[in-house]
Symmetry: D2
Subunit: 110 residues, 4 copies
């Protein structure tokens, strides 16, 4: 079944969405919040597309590959931004984003 | 501001999401529901990506064009399926999908 | 049909989601972004529940009233926060939130 | 941090959303799909509120408890419906829903 075939990609999407949501809030509480504006904006986008992608895979959607291809791009962009900030939540989010980008690219190429 | 530049595309996305959500439920109440399975599945995908796209545009996201390009493809696919069914909700949904696909393609090409 | 009965509440939810999404981004670009942190956080919540509520109403969901009751509370809270800031996007968002709270309360009491 | 305090409830929400999304698609492929209409409709609602709740908790939102209280009710309703059907995906979904309802009630009462 779709939700099993895609299990590791769904897990990566859920983990990435959670990390992005957490990072967005943590960024808002930093002293240098102005410097974090792009990070927050990308976190919001990335959490949204990751949750959409997880749902599409769990439904075995015929659009799942196309959605994962876009998700990979957005995760990559978010991970690259997060990686530039020293905060723990940004570093952890960067890792989750890059892992999710990799999983989504593999899924899109299946 | 972004939400004004994109106002007509946002409106098309919101209208398409509402039409798809309504069509999904109406399909589930048809006697020939088995024949409507792909329509329902595409309605769910299409409503989800349309609401995501509306949000991304309203936020003036740097990912908005890429999201709209994918949204256009999913709307097209959903509209093509809906157009094959005679039910009023399907015909109305097909129109909303095609209008949204057109708006999203224009937005993605801006 | 559900999507017609609820048309004005769905429209209010879509408008409120768009206003909140726009306000969140605009707040992130303000000089006093640190002061806007709660506004941004509430905008994110409010946009999400408004889009969920619009979908539930468009689907004629049996959970629509309960979702609208919660949506009204979150809109109220977001509108009250936005109203305290002088920025145009906050004032406009406050109006959209309060109108949506009112529509959702009416819908929940139907 | 919020996303750690709520980790088990977030995990339950993600698992329940995935199970509901999978169940919706699997129900659409059953021969007795007409009998599954309410199950499908509740699966769609439940997946949506579970993903919203996971995000709210990961953001440490001040609305997280209220969202989890509603999520518990919708999970309960969806789980009760799923439990009435013999299909494996329904039985598995019922379990995920009930576990999520329990976690969400605990979270709402914190």
């Amino acid at each position: 079944m779709a939700h099993e075939t895609y299990a590791s990609c769904i897990a990566a999407c859920n983990a990435c969405a959670d990390a992005c949501d957490h990072c967005a809030t943590a960024c808002l509480q930093e002293n240098d919040v102005k410097m974090m504006a792009r990070c927050i904006a990308l976190d919001i986008d990335c959490a949204a597309i990751c949750r959409l992608a997880a749902g599409a895979m769990a439904r075995g959607s015929e659009n799942a590959k196309a959605i994962c291809a876009l998700c990979a791009d957005i995760c990559q962009r978010c991970g690259d931004e997060c990686a530039q900030h020293k905060h723990d939540h940004c570093q952890q989010c960067a890792q989750a984003c890059r892992r999710c980008a990799e999983e989504c690219r593999r899924m899109a190429a299946m």
